[in-house]
Amino acid sequence: MNEQVRRMEDFQSELMELNLGPHHPSTHGVFRAVVELDGETVVNVTPHLGYLHRGYEKTCENKHYHQVIPLAERCDYMGASSNSLAFCLTVEKMLGVDVPERAQVIRVMFAELSRIFSHLFWLGTHAHDVGAMTPLFYNLREREEIMNLFELSAGGRLMPNYLRIGGVIQDLPEGFVERLRAFTEHFDRRVDEYETLLTKNVIYMDRTQGIGVLSLKDAIGLGASGPMIRGSGLAWDIRKTEPYCGYETYDFSVAVEKGCDAYSRYLVRIREMRESNRILKQTLEKLPGGPIRARQPGVVFPPQEEIYTKMESLIHHFMLVVEGLKAPVGEYYQCIESPRGELGCYLVSDGGPRPYRLKWRAPAFVNLESLAIMARGHLFADLIAILSSVDIVLAEVDR
């Protein structure tokens, strides 16, 4: 063997380190990973986080409880109402506030709309990552309808900031129910359309079946939740196991797949969109009359119209804005099923007007931990498919 050939062999046995991100179209944000490659095969992935770290938890410790709501929505801007719901539920449990029936139903409405909203954008970008450009344009069409609904209710299109401690900020505007009903009536057919593009598409199946396998044992050990763990065969949905907002009164099923791969996660999310639509239809049937906020002076804002007409309401409103509410000393952990999984809020109160400690259990952050174990042994192109199958929102990963 001459020297040149030997040198060639040395060269080929060396692993290559490739830097993916922080600005790469497939990372959907600023995510950076150092990928070790043997040829085109992934040997290891080391994520480097923190490019979007805003110090969310520190900021919350310095805000009044009501001021945390918009911050929470900015954590996961894809499922904004889910995030404010998790925070509001925690504070309400600490204070012992009972939310009126109508507000509960409206909250379920918004949580499920945000789930569809999030899954739609996930579907579009995920399909785009594996080479199917068309679905995104279909998904954005329906997403636009949901954004219009959000805009109608509270003004904000991406982050409506609609929930408040004790209920919601204002009643549903005129025309909202009719527009939502029109949406629920045609949405199932739209999901059929997405499925014709992908579910039996041979190229899509080849790109996702058997790719990014996460066994149930690994998924539990790594703390994966939401569609990640349901795609690995565990029928665990917090809406069923620990119902909040009256989810026990709705009829829906939990989507589970046993494939443990990216394709299973796709099927789970598609079915979840259909189930969410079922829940939305039930909220429309159920929607009772009555107040949209609890009445608890010093904790919950009084009704808007009373502020202009009643002295006490004006005083309560003023004091709540200036001094904030005071939660009793204690600690509480409340979790909900967000579009990405177990979204938890651990709140410690020292009796003051600000959270003493707020720990945000962000599902995207935890789910991303599984990336390395899923990607090892696959081709580099599959890493992109696997990363998008996790459904990360970098704002939530870094907080």
């Binding site: 986080l49 923190g50 770290h53 110090g55 938890e57 520190k58 900021t59 310095n62 449990k93 600490m94 012992g96 690994d218 539990i220 050990g221 790594l222 703390g223 565990l234 665990w236 196991t241 620990e242 009793p328 204690g330 600690e331 509480y332 952990y333 979790c335 177990e342 938890g344 651990y346 410690v348 003493y356 400690r357 720990k359 259990r361 952050f365 935890v366 931990e369 870094d398 907080r399």
Partner: protein, 167 residues
């Protein structure tokens, strides 16, 4: 299994001295256990068939400054089989010559990896035997611990965007 029964299992196994404190707030129990046995306690909670806490929701820190011991480490547990939840905590204190330290539980739950790295960089707590003790979210060149209560919200001069230039 209800939370009181889980706590009784803990005291039966590790003795009354292992549990330092128990608080109840709105039906949630917080059980403070001794720091030295944290790994055995976690392994016990995970492996017993009737407890089976195989899912760790998060590990987090709380700074109780100026109380001593200063820090609390919180472990929020969940069982995929029994669908019950439980929370244990432990207290750690800074020593005169260095940072507070506690055993890592990555060997018990793999998910603790990133949670512990985040807690370590935010509070300045060392997790012993952690497989990858690098910083996670903060820049490598920062020497401060931002989630401590004595760290100002607006930051200090010790938090530059770029590492100091070597001349």
């Amino acid at each position: 299994m209800n939370q009181e029964a889980i706590k009784d299992r803990l005291t039966a196994k590790f003795g009354q001295d292992a549990v330092l404190d128990t608080t109840v707030f709105r039906d949630q129990l917080s059980v403070t256990v001794i720091k030295d046995k944290i790994r055995e306690i976690c392994r016990f909670l995970r492996d017993e068939p009737d407890l089976f806490f195989d899912f760790l929701s998060f590990v987090g820190g709380v700074d109780k400054h100026p109380q001593t011991p200063r820090f609390e480490i919180v472990y929020q547990l969940n069982s995929s089989r029994h669908k019950h939840r439980f929370r244990i905590k432990t207290r750690v204190e800074e020593t005169a010559d260095g940072l507070a330290s506690i055993d890592s539980v990555v060997g018990v739950w793999a998910t603790a990896d990133w949670h512990e790295r985040e807690t370590a960089e935010m509070y300045g707590i060392t997790f012993k035997d952690h497989p990858d003790p690098r910083k996670l979210l903060l820049p490598e060149h920062w020497t401060v611990f931002p989630l401590r209560k004595d760290f100002p919200l607006e930051g200090t001069d010790d938090t530059p965007d770029l590492p100091p230039q070597k001349i």
